[in-house]
Symmetry: D2
Subunit: 151 residues, 4 copies
Amino acid sequence: METRKKVRIGVIGGGSPELKFRQIAFEVGKLIAEKGAILICGGLGGVMEATSQGAKEAGGLTVGILPGNNPDQANPYIDIPIATNMGHSRNSLVALNSDVLIAIDGQYGTLSEIAFGCIYRKKIIGLGSWDIKGVIPAETPEEAIKLAFSS
Amino acid sequence: METRKKVRIGVIGGGSPELKFRQIAFEVGKLIAEKGAILICGGLGGVMEATSQGAKEAGGLTVGILPGNNPDQANPYIDIPIATNMGHSRNSLVALNSDVLIAIDGQYGTLSEIAFGCIYRKKIIGLGSWDIKGVIPAETPEEAIKLAFSS
Amino acid sequence: METRKKVRIGVIGGGSPELKFRQIAFEVGKLIAEKGAILICGGLGGVMEATSQGAKEAGGLTVGILPGNNPDQANPYIDIPIATNMGHSRNSLVALNSDVLIAIDGQYGTLSEIAFGCIYRKKIIGLGSWDIKGVIPAETPEEAIKLAFSS
Amino acid sequence: METRKKVRIGVIGGGSPELKFRQIAFEVGKLIAEKGAILICGGLGGVMEATSQGAKEAGGLTVGILPGNNPDQANPYIDIPIATNMGHSRNSLVALNSDVLIAIDGQYGTLSEIAFGCIYRKKIIGLGSWDIKGVIPAETPEEAIKLAFSS
């Protein structure tokens, strides 16, 4: 399928997750790539890096929307780093450029992305993340992906 | 006191609140001005307008950090409109430019501002707003102001 | 006059100007305040600091739209610092929030502000600044102010 | 070559160019793709669309950094649209995410991108564009590409 027509799934989550959430993020990234979707994320470490690695190992395309001013700050599994130089305000752009968001664990940065996702009327799936009205909880990466791609 | 040295209190909340919350926002704005603090807000209607009106009636100074590209879009009680042309991403700047945040009612825009407030390590007081870890609940405008100015 | 109704004059220019341009910037700031207008600038040093000092000595109001994430980074003559955390992209907001721009000396940052001023259809006066179509040259601070306030 | 390691060439220019400049932009896009580089641009019409079309016809990868809030606003030859919702301030990000800039024709938007390119210390090649210190003039698309890839 043409790159432009592919679904874009945003994965959001903390920079310093427990191992369990890294593994979940990896699995989610792998499944996104296997579905032929593009992975959008914040481009840094933790959940962002693990999910990017998962997507790359399954042959996917990964976009990292970075807070800083240097594309090289992206984790090594990002194909297309976009430096915004907006700091945490870039969380808004991660939500804006995703068709669906999957939140994994996460602290207040993730909460801001969930809030923007709701503002922009995106579907948001949660895996061990914030229990907020508007977040659809899932138990496993497979369930999260199923929910993400259901209409 | 010099303008530069004044405390800056951000008031965040929805654009279409119930009358009750407009009244609370008005009262909070009035108390902020009476304390000699500057009011920071998103510059538009609803809670933002009511709190600006309260602050102006008590002789305060009001700053509106706007989503659009036209300073004239600010409500009539804003002294210093700042057009950001960033849309909802400007919510980050409302939090960044406040010493303390008072959240009144509010939907997902307010939630994003609370999240940024937590990211930027600001004290956040809630009046009928989101029940989130990091938000200190208050029952009345007076209590909110007392909490805002306590150290 | 009400703060909201005052004209807003943006002064743009480099952070490390020659003494001559500091003196011109100081004089321009003083004249802006004497006219009852608000000074908008980038909030940092050099031309921005000198013009803010001039405006403050004449009793004016000064707004500094900062590139960083800390309002305290503003020069000491800024009354209302606005932290944008957008780096150089904040140059766009300096132009957007000014009714007229006065460019004094300056390098590429100033050029970007002139370009945004032209995009936003602002009148732009130049004092020893870029010789670009769209910039009206002036010889003295007095002439610049006269041009800024003529219709 | 891995996507991440590819050179990223930004092409900047107006939305309503003469036919001559559309043809030049098309040719530049084609040559960028033939060199194996990624095309970065503002994602809209005119020079941006023509250069994207050229890059796509030569099998390249195209990224469009958009002013609005909707990735679908990108021209049809953009593979990876990035909505910034920053209006003209996004010009800063086009420059920031390019290793080299090629300016073709263009008005004040292009001038702002040239200015940011200079701020971010990027090499800038001009084809019938602004005659500004810091822009290296070229006569033909081939010469522009040669200059862009020379070290």
